[in-house]
């Protein structure tokens, strides 16, 4: 797959019109520098992120950590791996680590662990200055970002922190809503019974409200700013 520059340009124009701040990065290093500059400019100390092949390719977590930013993974699998410092730990040991993080005794059972992690992560999202997620593709016609997932963590990382940054592969831009629908139909999400992933989110611009008199105000209930970083390398 190659970059379709016409679609890319259209996407950038439309997304910018919706109030997002769009940056193109021609190289991995440019992309990393952009994120580092963003956290520095906005004085961000805590970042949450969902699973992202682009972030992995950029080595983003390590680079942010090196810059003194605390990065928390939000998919439960990755969060647990992070908690165990990447080691393979048995369930008992993991439950102990989770108990310590939760400040209460969590039994080594799936239900108890799930409930505890959901509770812990809520606070993590809320306290984060920046959420980093990756969109599966963009839609040029409307400047929309499309994210597919089954867990729900990407949705939360995109809406609860103060700022949101979406990473997007410049080669993955659909022309229209119709093209997007075709792409979605081809991705079952891998859950038995689901013909599509549990969550598909179309994000178009910055959240707003017109319910407070005076004007249309940004930052209704989601992040104050929407940033999009498109990697075209």
């Amino acid at each position: 797959m190659t970059v379709d520059h016409e679609l890319l340009e259209k996407f950038k124009t439309e997304a910018t019109l919706t109030g997002a701040q769009v940056t193109l990065a021609a190289s991995v290093e440019d992309a990393v520098n952009h994120v580092l500059k963003l956290v520095k400019d906005k004085d961000i100390k805590i970042v949450v992120k969902s699973g992202s092949p682009i972030a992995d390719r950029l080595g983003l977590s390590a680079r942010l950590a090196a810059a003194g930013v605390k990065v928390t993974e939000t998919s439960i699998t990755q969060w647990a791996a992070q908690l165990a410092r990447g080691r393979d730990v048995p369930v008992d040991k993991l439950a102990e680590l989770i108990s310590a993080a939760a400040g209460e005794q969590v039994p080594a059972e799936p239900e108890a662990i799930l409930q505890a992690v959901r509770r812990i992560l809520k606070d993590v999202y809320k306290g984060a200055g920046l959420g980093i997620t990756e969109a599966d593709f963009g839609i040029a016609e409307t400047g929309t970002l499309v994210t597919l997932e089954n867990e729900g963590n990407a949705r939360l990382a995109a809406i609860l922190p103060k700022l949101h940054l979406t990473l997007l592969d410049g080669r993955r831009i659909a022309g229209s809503l119709a093209d997007a629908a075709e792409l979605i139909k081809g991705s079952s999400g891998g859950i038995p019974g689901h013909k599509v992933p549990a969550f598909i989110t179309y994000l178009t611009g910055r959240n707003t409200t017109a319910d407070i008199p005076g004007a249309i105000f940004a930052r209704a209930q989601g992040p104050a700013e929407e940033h999009i970083l498109i990697l075209i390398a």
């Binding site: 809503l177 994000l203 008199p213 930052r219």
Partner: protein, 717 residues
């Protein structure tokens, strides 16, 4: 005795805060619509959406089955509720079984319809609305003012005081701090609540998916954070697949707020899943672990079973019909009493709530067709309102006054004429120097509250047309002039102008002496029997001399002759055939003159600046707006456009009698935009608009002249 609705209408009109909020709202939405419609082929997109919604409603039983299967396979629990009570009971039972004490909720008109929140609150379960507008009306203990903007009628001070009371601290009414307070006060609710309740804008049968749209982001938070989720979904929201969803997305936000897309469009299919930890699979993800979808009928199948009203189910609840409605712009939505506002709300109220109150509500509609012209689903809202009135008349009969006016007088052309002549003799003491009636005594006083009425003539148009009983032979085309009641009785001179003008254009005009009222007042009040009798009479009267064209000066009459006679006669094939021949011949005067092209004998430029008012029935009913403008300019006048030239003048059927104050407020907005142009002449192409505008300006002693285009053009020769 004034009805409750009449009182509410008066209150709304007298509420300066509300009026100020409404005028801001109207400006904002007008601008939004211009933005939203830029660069798209609206007619093509709405045709597409109309067809897709039609197909979905036609296939509804199969779609419901398919949706249930796919949603269940993805882990959702489906409950079908035939009415509001059963939906509420199911959700309440679920909340109690799970020990839920606190619920967060995103905006859903359907849950307003079922009264779910109150039902839960009665059982001491705390429910926090999360859409900011909905939260505001919740705290105020009011109903939403608008489908999309529930709190458009509230000022910042009112909102700040509601939150001050809620939080027990002084809240700033400056917009930004106020918004921050509202946001933070909701944040903790999301995290604490034990259940999330949402509606759905669309549901997809092929995948068992529900689609939820919010601009604020509250939909994301409500549908994700709580492990126990309920989605309350009207069965009419189900469509086949993703292409149908796209058809909705292409027009929904463009129509209501003017953006290309709603900011968050969320597709939710079943429950959430996470991976494994330490080789141990987890029983769920971070979103819903239980998703209950309550499919609600509550009158929708009954609506589907009705051929006449089925298309109301195509509504995607974008609210644009309210944004353009002159009645809404004067009153906001609370007067509609139940949940759904405006014209579409009146129809939905009749099926979902309270048939009786829908009768009274239907009188609020002026039939201006603004809603019809912008509806992204192509719903003929004024047509449905008329059918609703007709049903009410069938069920309950006409009111005594209308029975007299339509059945005893209007239906019988000779009697109508005698009545007019009698009134013309009695009116003397009330006429002023301009032959206008500025004030009538009780009980007719309300007729002259906002306009002066024109004096009636004893020398009616028919009396003056005895020289025109048949067309001159050898000339073509032959043009029959259908004058309509306003011209015949109040402006016979205008009728004479039309004949002279047609002669100038060298056609063969004549005046069919047997013509009668077109029946519009009766028809739009739901009196189909009077309307049919008059259709029959006119179809015969206008066929006699086999004209090539039938020309009108009142687009309301033109629509009756051209369109409504066809539907009225559908049960009588022979008459219907004649109606359809008549339909093809009907032309509005400016349309006919444009088709004939320029004729010789015209004076040089007459000069002067004028402005032009688009009659509702001419522009939106017959699609004619360029022709009169072109004729005005060709006649040598300089056209100065007013703002919203196609806004209704407030002359609208039943509402004129039922709610004269309302029509008056719509008229005043029109007069203000005329006055703002600074010109001394307003031209229009409808005799009813002439009556209203002339009457309104005379009442205010304004020197601005109102002329029908026939009068203006006659002046050029």
């Amino acid at each position: 005795m004034a009805s409750k609705l009449r009182k509410q209408v008066r209150q709304a009109l007298a509420d300066d805060t509300l009026q100020a909020a409404l005028s801001r709202f109207t400006m904002l939405t007008k601008f939004g619509r211009q933005m939203g419609m830029a660069g798209i082929d609206f007619e093509a997109l709405r045709q597409d959406l109309h067809e897709r919604k039609k197909k979905a409603i036609d296939d509804l039983p199969a779609l419901i089955r398919q949706f249930k299967e796919n949603a269940a396979a993805a882990g959702a629990v489906i409950f079908e509720a035939e009415n509001a009570g059963k939906a509420n009971d199911y959700i309440t039972r679920l909340a109690r079984e799970r020990g839920v004490k606190h619920i967060i909720k995103s905006k859903s008109m359907l849950t307003e319809e079922t009264g779910l929140r109150h039902h839960l609150e009665h059982l001491c379960i705390r429910v926090d609305e999360t859409d900011i507008g909905e939260r505001i009306v919740q705290l105020a203990g009011e109903k939403p003012a608008h489908i999309v903007g529930p709190a458009i009628h509230k000022t910042a001070e009112q909102i700040a005081s509601l939150f001050s009371e809620l939080l027990g601290e002084q809240v700033s009414s400056d917009s930004q701090p106020l918004l921050n307070t509202v946001r933070e006060s909701l944040r903790q609710s999301y995290l604490d609540a034990g259940m999330g309740i949402s509606g759905a804008n669309i549901a997809i049968a092929e995948t068992g998916t529900i689609v939820i749209l919010t601009n604020e982001g509250n939909g994301q938070l409500v549908t994700t954070l709580s492990p126990l989720q309920v989605a309350v979904v009207g069965i009419e929201k189900i469509v086949h697949g993703f292409e149908d969803v796209n058809a909705v997305l292409r027009l929904l936000s463009r129509s209501c707020v003017g953006t290309k897309m709603t900011i968050y469009t969320s597709f939710i299919t079943g429950t959430s899943r996470a991976g494994a930890v330490s080789g141990m699979p987890l029983p769920g993800g971070q979103g819903p672990r239980e998703l209950h979808i309550v499919l609600v009928d509550n009158g929708r199948n009954r609506m589907r079973d009705s051929d006449a009203f089925r298309e109301a189910l195509y509504c995607i609840k974008c609210g644009v019909c309210l944004n353009v409605c002159p009645v809404f712009a004067s009153l906001a939505g609370q007067v509609y009493g139940h949940v759904y506002q405006g014209g579409i709300g009146t129809i939905l109220t009749a099926f979902y709530h309270d048939r009786e109150s829908s009768r009274e509500l239907s009188e609020l509609c002026l039939g201006c067709m603004s809603c019809k012209s912008v509806c992204p689903a192509g719903i003929d809202i004024p047509g449905l309102i008329r059918q609703l009135r007709a049903q009410h008349v069938q069920e309950k009969g006409l009111t005594a006054g209308k029975k007299l006016a339509y059945g005893m007088i209007l239906k019988h052309p000779a009697r109508l004429e005698r009545t007019v002549r009698a009134c013309a003799k009695l009116q003397g003491p009330f006429l002023d120097a301009d032959s206008m009636i500025k004030r009538l005594p009780y009980p007719l006083r309300s007729l002259t509250d906002t306009i002066s009425l024109p004096g009636l003539h004893t020398n009616l148009l028919r009396d003056r047309m005895t020289g025109y009983t048949s067309p001159v032979t050898g000339k073509a085309p032959v043009v029959a002039f259908y004058s309509g009641c306003v011209t015949s009785f109040a402006y016979p001179g205008l009728g004479e102008d039309v004949m002279h003008l047609l002669e100038r254009y060298e056609v063969a005009p004549y005046y069919p002496q047997e013509q009668a009222c077109c029946g519009a007042p009766a028809y739009f009040s739901g009196d189909s029997s009077t309307a049919l009798a008059l259709a029959r009479h006119n179809i015969e009267a206008l066929a006699g001399q086999e004209p090539d064209y039938v020309v009108t000066v009142c687009p309301g009459c033109a629509i009756m002759l051209k369109k409504e006679f066809l539907s009225l006669t559908s049960g009588e094939p022979a008459l219907h055939e004649k109606a359809s021949r008549l339909s093809g011949k009907v032309r509005d005067l400016s349309q006919l003159l444009s088709e004939l092209g320029q004729r010789p004998g015209r004076k040089a430029a007459a000069g002067g600046k004028v402005t032009y008012h688009d009659p509702c029935h001419l522009k939106r009913g017959l699609g004619i707006s360029a022709e009169p403008r072109k004729l005005i300019e060709e006649a040598g006048y300089q056209l100065v456009e007013m703002s919203d030239p196609d806004a209704c003048c407030g002359f609208g059927g039943d509402a004129l009698l039922a709610h004269p104050e309302l029509c008056g407020s719509i008229l005043q907005r029109k007069l203000a935009s005329i006055q703002d142009t600074g010109v001394d002449t307003v031209v229009t192409a409808c005799t009813a608009c002439v009556l209203q505008l002339r009457g309104g300006l005379h009442k205010k002693d304004s020197p601005i002249r109102v002329v029908h285009i026939a009068e203006l053009l006659t002046g050029q020769f």
